[in-house]
């Protein structure tokens, strides 16, 4: 664990080591513990793939005080808490109407469209980080077969709810947006709902499991604001 003071009120805490589920889980445990120890002193706490950024309220605390508190955290103890990990079941329609880049990817990777879908469905993903757009989820890691570069030419208009692939990750576009990921499907779920006090049902540290739905199932569930199913706690 390394500390880096970005400015007078922001500390970056980073971890080295291979990106895998146990690193993500360790970082999530730290984030939750830091938030419960110093909640009122922290203005923002951003979990990303291998780090946490903590922005503090200088009227209430100092960077050194926060670092001391983090150093005191006993990882053995917090990792032994029966930490609740939420696993969200996200319906995806892989129909070609939505999967605008799946044929391209099938050519690049020399895989059938079915192989790509099966590989995408085969894993439960960690929500590694959220950024780029409000509610945009970086999920990892994907099956090695699916690892790919971003598209050479980004698309200007990626549909809301699109599911993308790039590098060793998959993602969800919560809004219509430009973007460079290969789009392989779409989910009818509302991923960023401003009418709610918590606009995103999930957060970094949760897990996502995709399930395949047909086009007719998709059409019947679009525009509903239901939260997705929580399959495991």
């Amino acid at each position: 664990m390394e500390f880096f003071n970005l400015n007078k009120n922001s500390i970056l805490v980073s971890w080295n080591g291979e990106l895998n589920s146990s690193l993500t889980s360790l970082i999530s445990s730290y984030k939750n513990e830091i938030l419960s120890l110093c909640k009122d002193d922290i203005k923002d706490c951003v979990q990303s793939i291998k780090s946490i950024l903590i922005i503090i309220d200088l009227k209430r605390t100092s960077i050194n005080e926060i670092i001391e508190k983090i150093k005191m955290i006993d990882y053995e103890k917090i990792s032994n808490h029966d930490r609740i990990i939420k696993v969200w079941e996200i319906p995806v329609c892989y129909d070609l109407e939505f999967a605008t880049d799946i044929n391209l990817l099938s050519d690049i990777k020399n895989l059938s469209v079915r192989d790509i879908i099966d590989a995408h469905l085969s894993k439960t993903y960690d929500v590694l980080s959220m950024g780029f757009l409000p509610g945009f989820m970086y999920l990892g890691k994907t099956d090695k077969k699916l690892h790919c570069e971003r598209k050479e030419k980004p698309s200007l208009n990626i549909r809301k709810g699109s599911i993308g692939l790039a590098l060793d990750q998959t993602c969800i576009y919560p809004r219509q947006s430009p973007g460079g990921w290969h789009i392989i499907g779409n989910s009818p779920i509302e991923f960023f709902n401003l009418a709610s006090k918590y606009p995103c049902f999930s957060k970094p540290g949760d897990k996502i499991k995709f399930v395949e739905i047909s086009k007719s199932q998709y059409k019947s569930s679009i525009n509903r604001l239901d939260k997705p199913k929580l399959i495991e706690l």
């Binding site: 970005l6 400015n7 990106l19 793939i49 922005i55 409000p134 606009p199």
Partner: protein, 278 residues
């Protein structure tokens, strides 16, 4: 109540910003030049972080439907009240029917129009600051009306003759990936001037290159004031509406006051970096 007669180039409502949502990818937003904005609130004895109007390069024209007091700070846009020039950094009384024409910026980029009282506007995630992804409208449009809840607070000063100045020296701390720079690039950073390119509330591009081919990092958090080095060798200085994570090396980090100063600069202005320690 006020009514927007013409909207200007990029006019928004801003307050101190939105906190607690960066973890789900929501930027902080807020006043680009925080100090200038807060002075306008102080002069009117509004709460220091009151929402107010931020104008960019070309200002709006506003009609007042009731009498109130206003204060304009930041860059001098040559504002006129019913065709008469009015002073900045001063509380100015306006009457029902008055027309405030903000005009165009002469030196800097942004001015702030504070109106005594509290603007009636719904908060989104704890802030009234406009941000394109979460507000229906990302700018104040022509014809829009805003209501104000007046306050009875006494004015703080009749007038402060504060001079607005551009400051092109930006104080920076070393960023987490400063070490990816070679000696030549560090020399350029310290000794050369850089010119401002395309910019907006999210980021300021700098035109000159310093070092090619620096590889990306694993996506990690960024904040307003983070200076990123892109693979083409150009730098981007992130500002208030910037995204929350990024994959480019973070070579420098502006201090808070320099972020305010940068908000007043525009395309073609030359800047210098001064590396300081925390």
């Amino acid at each position: 109540m006020i009514k927007i007669i013409s909207k200007g180039l990029y006019t928004t409502i801003q307050d101190e910003g939105r906190f607690g949502y960066r973890n789900i990818g929501v930027p902080s937003s807020g006043y680009m030049d925080k100090e200038s904005a807060q002075i306008a609130n102080l002069i009117l004895n509004n709460p220091i972080n009151n929402p107010l109007i931020e104008a960019t390069l070309i200002g709006p024209t506003i009609k007042f439907e009731e009498s109130t007091v206003i204060c304009i700070t930041g860059s001098d846009f040559n504002p006129m009240l019913n065709e008469n020039k009015i002073s900045l950094y001063t509380a100015v009384e306006v009457r029902k029917g008055d027309i405030l024409k903000i005009n165009n910026s002469s030196i800097g980029s942004r001015c702030y129009i504070s109106i005594k009282g509290d603007i009636k506007l719904d908060e989104v995630l704890g802030s009234k600051s406009y941000y394109p992804q979460i507000n229906d409208s990302s700018i104040i449009e022509k014809g829009v009306e805003f209501k104000f809840e007046p306050n009875k607070n006494k004015l703080n000063y009749k007038s402060t003759h504060q001079e607005f100045e551009l400051n092109k020296n930006l104080k920076v701390f070393k960023g987490p990936e400063f070490n990816c720079l070679n000696k030549g690039s560090i020399n350029k950073l310290i000794n050369k001037e850089f010119s401002i390119g395309v910019n907006n509330r999210m980021a300021y591009n700098l035109k000159e290159k310093i070092q090619d081919g620096v590889s990306s990092i694993i996506s990690s958090a960024v904040i307003p004031g983070t200076v990123q080095l892109t693979p083409s060798g150009q730098m981007i200085i992130l500002h208030r509406d910037c995204q929350t994570t990024g994959g480019y090396p973070r070579i420098l980090q502006l201090d808070e006051k320099s972020l305010d100063n940068l908000a007043q600069l525009r395309i073609g202005h030359k800047i210098r970096f001064e590396i300081v320690t925390l």
